[in-house]
């Protein structure tokens, strides 16, 4: 639905729905903290930003997808299908029939996550903060009005 809607706002709403579903899936996999984070960060922040931009730019509808056929569209469909088939082949023939691990419950908690981030993965954590700083500065610079 995301990709087939004409109106970009409808596309965005579809994506939000998508994220909610994914959050539920995460819960099924016993990753609680990430489920919550998914909703908060992705839907709450990113999608809000996207919708904000759509509204700001006041975009209209796009042309229907099946109206014009050119090489790009056909090639895109063909390649996407091929990719899908490849991936499914990979995953189906792998020996992935393992049961869920025993300690899946414990590692999904926020305590476990926190202790891991602040001990083993401390460096990436700090670097990510720098990254966010850079992103903020970059976004501001890029979107400033040139007076």
């Amino acid at each position: 639905m995301v990709i087939l809607q004409r109106n970009p706002v409808m596309s965005a709403i579809s994506l939000i729905g998508n994220f909610f579903c994914l959050a539920l899936l995460y819960l099924l996999l016993k990753a609680q903290v990430l489920a919550v984070l998914q909703i908060v960060v992705y839907t709450g922040a990113i999608m809000v930003l996207v919708i904000f931009v759509i509204m700001l730019l006041n975009l209209g509808d796009e042309t229907k997808l099946t109206e014009k056929f050119d090489v790009r569209k056909i090639a895109g469909v063909v390649l996407a299908t091929g990719f899908l088939l490849e991936m499914l082949y990979l995953f189906a023939t792998g020996d992935a029939d393992v049961p869920q691990s025993a300690n899946a419950q414990e590692i999904g908690t926020i305590e476990a996550m926190g202790s891991a981030i602040f001990s083993r993965f401390l460096l990436p954590f700090e670097v990510t903060s720098l990254l966010l700083l850079a992103a903020i500065v970059g976004a501001v610079v890029l979107a400033k009005k040139r007076t």
Binding site: L25, V53, A80
Partner: protein, 101 residues
Amino acid sequence: MQLSLSAYLGLSAILFTIGVAGVLLRRNAIVVFMCIELMLNSVNLSLIAFSSYRGDITGQVLVFFVMAVAAAEAAVGLAIVIALFRNKQTVNIDEVNILKW
């Protein structure tokens, strides 16, 4: 009922492919951007699935960071789109063909 790991991975693959198709077929820059987010999410799903089935927390930590990076990328990407719109008054990718010699 326990789902097998392959199921989750298959779902991830399908989501990824949908995202790819969206990137290739849509002409609105913002929708393309959303499809990229879709792709990132599919990868997140597969990472969490592995982490859960293997009992290793590394996958979830990685997803944590991926989310952070995705957020940052979203901000910057949308800023670029805004700047582009200011210059060209359109976000139709077909008309943004200046990435060539």
